[in-house]
Amino acid sequence: MNFFESQDAARRRTLGLVLLFGAAVVGTVLGVQAVVALILLANRDLPRHGQGHAPDTTLVFVATGLAVLAVVVGGSLYKSAQLRRGGRALAEQLGGVHLHGGNADEDGRRLLNVVEEMALASGLPVPDVYVLPDEQGVNAFAAGFTTGDAVLGITAGAVRLLDREQLQGVVAHEFSHILNGDMSLNLRLIGWVHGLLVIGLLGQIILRSLRYARGGGKKGGGLALIVAIGLALLVLGFVGMFFANLIKAAVSRQREYLADAAAVQFTRNPGGLAGALKRIGSLAGGGQLRAPAAALVSHMLLAESRGDWFASHPPLEERIRRLEPGWDGRYPPLPTRARPAPPPSAGPDTEEE
């Protein structure tokens, strides 16, 4: 694998996809604006309360455009603010326990050492490390929105089942997510998708509210007008959201390839990360997380089990093949040397941070 070229390619594809994403958002906004404005203009001959003169065409377009934009931007900012939490808070919500020199056992020390090695290789500050003691699958995540605030989370299964080189590959993959700002990129995309969702929801609310308004003294034309606007918002909002989600998933998959390539740059050892991915493939539970809050970090995980168009990660086989072109497609069995489950190295009583 040529890791510099692979990284450049993934960055280029990300840029293309982000532009496409922007086009989807702008297209939805313009579409909603055009439809709503046309509906309003087509109905301007209807009798209305107050003065009878019809509104100016330009004014209608500008006003609806601003209104739609305000809804999308507002929805996006709201969602971003909701999700913008420090990495530590997120790691603790997943049940992570802060691992440090004071509470680390032999495996823990090895993990902390590997993290420091990868910090040197990537030139980043050493992040706080959180172990998820109840998770026996092999997985890891990075969280936090700046390099200073970033934390690295890893399952107890990964600490126990991976050897030193595999652990290096996994940790290097997560360092790449931190270095490339993938957490804040994803946060922004989630925010914009939510903005489009709000348009659809608005349409839904309008249509639903008609049920109660039906008995009122509205004229037939007015009612049809509101139904048309509600339907337009509902359909365009959800169609826009569908495509935005599709593109968002594609962006996320490119960032995974980028992180895999960067992990090879940091470790100069494709076998480490490939071995860790194979280990995930050979485990019955794979990399699944059991914590209910796991969906919050799905895009930042090392691996994910689903494989459809909305998957945030590329298929495991494809990733391994990119790292090891000659792979025979077989997952090695778990090593017999696998140590017994470690004692709870970091019980809640030792956690006094």
Partner: protein
């Protein structure tokens, strides 16, 4: 009038472009300088670990005093070379001396760990296992710090060689490329540590 306005806009653009190049070159140079400092830090960390290792092994390897003394001597020599290299960084003689001393130290350490294979109690010693892990990690850190230095130096060299930055690099005081560290077995290669997994 219009010609003057165009000239002013063009001037502002050129100045902004030059400032951007200046800042990028300074940033990249500081980054690789810092990367170099890290190598030094990690080498010292390694020298600090070795006396502990010898102290721990002494109890089990009473009959192997020569091997242990060789490690201590090699460590002293390497530390002296590092001081000499730090006093005159970049000089070929100092760097070569350091590389030689490092490879001697690596060989001496390798012999200790080969010996340890024959002493099961030593291999099982908790303190020894911990030190072996620390030494493995330190060897890795030295290697990764060197690798990061080379990555950073390459990025700096590329930034000052690409057009149009190449037009200004010399005038901005970035006339010489950063030297890459070549592979020196003594520093980069970790001895095989049978104890660490």
């Amino acid at each position: 009038m219009i010609a003057l306005q165009v000239a002013i806009v063009a001037l502002v653009l050129v100045v902004a472009w030059a400032v951007a190049i200046w800042n990028r070159l300074v940033t990249l140079r500081n980054r690789y300088a810092n990367a170099f400092a890290q190598i030094d830090v990690q080498l010292k960390r390694r020298y600090d670990l070795i006396p502990n290792l010898v102290e721990t092994a002494k109890g089990y390897l009473a009959h192997e005093r020569e091997t242990l003394q060789a490690v201590i001597a090699a460590r002293g020599a390497a530390l002296d070379s590092l001081r000499a290299a730090a006093a005159a960084p970049g000089t070929a003689a100092a760097m070569q001396g350091l590389a030689g001393a490092e490879s001697a130290l690596g060989a001496a350490l390798g012999r200790v760990f080969a010996l340890a294979e024959r002493y099961p109690e030593l291999k099982a010693d908790v303190q020894m296992r911990r030190l072996a892990e620390e030494l493995t990690s330190t060897e890795n850190r030295v290697a990764f710090a060197r690798q990061h230095y080379n990555d950073a130096a390459t990025e700096y060299n590329t930034a000052r060689q690409v057009f149009p930055a190449s037009l200004l690099a010399g005038a901005f005081g970035h006339g010489t490329p950063a030297a890459l560290l070549s592979y020196e077995p003594g520093i980069a290669a970790a001895p095989v540590l049978g104890l660490a997994t």
